[in-house]
Amino acid sequence: MSENKTDRRQFLERSARAGLAAVAATSAGIWLWSRSEHPHKTLSSAQVRSYAVKLPESVPEMAILTNGSPEQLVTEAVKAMGGMSRFISRGDVVVLKPNIGWDRVPQQAANTNPEVVRRVVELCFDAGAKKVIVTDVSCNDPRRCFQRSGIAAAAASAGATVLLPEERKFRDYRLNGELLSVWPIYTPIVETDKIINLPIVKHHNLSRVTMGMKNWYGILGGRRNQLHQNIDMSVADLATFIRPTLTILDAYRVLVSNGPQGGNLDDVRTMKTIAAGTDPVAVDAFGATLLGVSAEQLPYLTIARERGLGRTDFEQMRVERIDLGQDAPV
């Protein structure tokens, strides 16, 4: 056996290195072990997102305009509600939430009328909005829906920012609803100063009629296909969570059967009607009558009324009805 050449200095150095490595490994291991916890997600804690503004008693709660071009109807409806500056303040970021759910063209009336969207964008800018965002979480491929609905072009030409939904911009929100607890929501829609809901009235085989409150499906990501299992409660929960500044209901062209996607022009009726209102429940209650459905026949409206989200007896409210009496081009 040869002589061991380790001297005292080497002994100390090597011991120190080995000891440090051992301590480092052990402390790293124990630190990681202490971090182990039951998997959960960090959540925002918002339960109600209200974008409503206070209005004087003189302002009607709803304006129903008939017989004009989409542009005229929107203009007059907003005027009847006291003008857009009652709702939009200078410097506001405004989100417009039309229905851009389907890969359909405007004549098929599966998406909000692009002329309605265009006019609302213009009115928001006229009222001093800093930025107007137009977006929706579509059912079909969003790129196709945004283009073929005509909404992207109409909104962009009026100067709006058109946002295609992107997976990375969804965050989990605690809705704390009766049915919907935690759902991913497209953040650009809720992180804003004002929201104007721009639904279209359509037939829907499960919920009978889809309008403003159901339009909030389009802020959700995740497994939206489960919502149908209790469609009334999920619609009501969403309407509880998000309270828009204004709802402008497009009933210019109305899909009366084979909704909500349609596809056949025979299913479309030209009703030339626009309703604007601050009470989302009342606007939907009115919209349902266009398809011959009363508020009592739509359970989600009843739930919403019981929760105090609004009224279903819109006939008893301050409603301004104006017939422009024009035969605008179809």
Partner: protein, 577 residues
């Protein structure tokens, strides 16, 4: 592209201080510019193979891509030759390949050295800090017998094409490159970039978040697709591609020299070229600089004949030869000491490789697959031709997979037998066929997916398969309910998401209201869905959105597909009535 100049032997280093002919160096620069231009053009067109939404102020109902994104595939001579053999016709823009073919006949394999994007990538990875330098690289750059493998591969592929099985796309460099990038490399890069940018974004630090947003904005029109794309067994395709790139580190342009059947085809086509190398053997002093820089392994050095069929016309040899012994010119001398025109082929091997292709075909088709009852989930894109014709055309370039907006089109494995590996099929759990979308047919270079219009697809005008009868929509399959898993059927729970998404009008999915008694005795009304087989087009959106996510309660199989005369349920739909 850089060329390896480093690490030569002491002798060559000294020599390299003396530059070759200025004409050679100039042409070399033209070649580099050409390679860069075509590589950039290739990537530009590749990234344009996606509809990203044209959200300017003009409205268009029709959705088309803005650029001729299949240009490189369409000007690929092997695509032209093999599909011409298998279909006895040339499809639409594939006629552009004639430009290359005529060019190669006249001057030789300029495509390899000047245009081919895979060739350019191989060139780059061969030259950038290679493993072998100096004498070892020179030795590796001399022509070797195994380099004739590409010709035998070509003969086997040609034999298969003649007998209607188009396998050329597996090894044809353009489909190979497009497929690898589309289904594997670029999706992988997407994952990497997205993870990194999202990590920055999750930091909740303003500057980093803006950086992430800027990243999405800048890359969102090129390498980042709108949504992340995923492909079935993509890593296999990716590993093969990476292996091809890595092999360049050991053998310059390994793929181009030894495997590439397109290169082999062009080697054969170059036989009558009127352009070529003249070398002055007496001036050569064996410095081997030409061989050190050689791309094609065509033996440019003196005292041996130049191999015309191997040369990529890269002009490196003329550019570096200090003796100016090498010069490319029109109508050079064809004396046997200077040039070897024909490729290095053994008659026996030629016959054997051709025979291998001929024998392979019945072997392929003896398996259950094409002949009998191919896989019920083999759902081809809308406009696809009948299976045999489809396999005679599909080059597996993956363009349809790249362009599909829902990521539904996936590379198949053995669903259509071994002949159908990496051909496109729709997997409805991943995506579905957008009702109004015809982009897959628009980008298909060979017409395996025919270029149908929206009107044809929706059945507003008579289309390919039913021109005899009245217009019918193109059907790619038929949906079926699994009533044991369907919520309204099996669990008395309202659902009908399938009905909501069903795009036909009137809807193929329709419901009957039924009052049912639940386990707790309460009576509830549910809408129980059914499929109207004549209205269903098989788009698969029902399967895609079914909340019974793991094994959907409604699923599509390929029966009833328009393209097949026999794979039909209904008497009215078949061809034999």
């Amino acid at each position: 592209m850089t060329d390896a100049t480093s690490g030569a032997t002491a002798r060559t280093v000294k020599k390299s201080a003396v530059q070759g002919s200025s004409r050679g160096r100039r042409i070399r620069w033209f070649r580099r510019i050409s390679q860069t231009f075509f590589l950039l053009l290739f990537f530009f067109l590749f990234f344009q193979t996606e509809f990203r939404g044209a959200f300017d102020t003009t409205y268009s109902e029709i959705i088309r891509l803005q650029y001729p994104v299949s240009l490189f595939l369409e000007m690929d001579p092997l695509v032209a030759v093999s599909t011409a053999l298998s279909t006895h016709a040339i499809y639409e823009n594939v006629v552009l390949a004639l430009i290359i073919i005529v060019g190669v006949i006249l001057i030789g394999r300029f495509f390899c050295g000047w245009i081919c994007p895979l060739g350019t990538l191989n060139h780059f990875f061969s030259s950038f800090k290679p493993e072998r330098k100096g004498m070892k690289r020179i030795a590796a750059n001399r022509y070797q017998k195994w380099m004739s493998i590409k010709y035998y591969l070509l003969f086997a592929l040609i034999a298969l094409s003649i007998f209607t099985s188009l396998q050329a796309g597996l090894l044809d460099p353009i489909p190979f490159l497009v497929r690898s990038l589309a289904t594997s490399v670029v999706p992988a890069i997407n994952v990497g970039i997205r993870e990194s940018l999202d990590f920055l974004h999750s930091s909740n630090i303003g500057v980093l978040q803006s950086l992430a947003d800027a990243g999405y904005l800048v890359l969102g029109s090129s390498i980042l697709s709108y949504k992340p794309q995923y492909y079935h067994l993509a890593f296999v395709i990716g590993i093969v591609f990476l292996a091809v790139l890595v092999l360049n580190r050991f053998i310059t342009r390994f793929w181009c020299r030894g495997i590439c059947p397109l290169g082999a085809l062009m080697g054969l086509l170059s036989r009558f070229a009127i352009f070529g190398m003249r070398k002055d053997h007496s001036r050569c002093d064996d410095c081997n600089l030409c061989t050190l820089h050689c791309q094609g392994a065509c033996d440019p050095q003196g005292k041996v004949p130049w191999r015309q069929a191997e040369c990529h016309l890269c002009f490196n040899c003329e550019g570096v030869c200090p003796q100016e012994a090498i010069r490319f010119e029109f109508f050079p001398d064809q004396d046997r000491k200077t040039v070897k025109i024909a490729p290095d082929l053994k008659r026996r091997r030629v016959i054997e490789s051709f025979a291998a292709g001929v024998v392979a075909l019945p072997l392929f088709r003896s398996s259950l697959g094409l002949a009998k009852n191919y896989d019920d989930r083999l759902i081809r894109p809308p406009g696809s031709l009948e299976e045999e014709e489809f396999l005679a055309r599909c080059i597996r370039c993956g363009q349809c997979m790249k362009v599909c907006p829902t990521n539904a089109i996936q590379p198949a494995m053995f669903e259509s037998g071994i002949e159908g590996v990496w051909t496109p099929m729709l997997v409805m759990r991943v995506g579905y066929c957008e009702y109004n979308c015809v982009l897959c047919g628009q980008v298909c270079p060979t017409g395996a997916i025919w270029k149908i219009s929206e009107e044809e697809k929706l059945g507003k005008v008579p289309g390919q398969a039913n021109s005899r009868s009245k217009a019918k929509p193109v059907k790619i399959g038929t949906a079926f309910y699994d009533r044991g898993r369907c919520l309204p059927w099996a669990m008395d729970i309202p659902c009908i998401v399938c009905e909501e998404f069903c795009p036909t009008s009137p809807k193929a999915i329709w419901v009957i209201d039924e009052d049912v008694t639940r386990s707790d005795g309460t009576v509830v009304r549910v809408q129980r869905p059914r499929v109207d087989v004549d209205r269903c087009v098989g788009c698969g959106v029902c399967e895609n959105v079914c909340p019974v996510a793991d094994r959907p309660a409604i699923y599509v199989t390929n029966i009833g597909e328009t393209r097949s005369r026999t794979n039909q349920i209904r008497l009215e739909s078949g061809a034999y009535n």
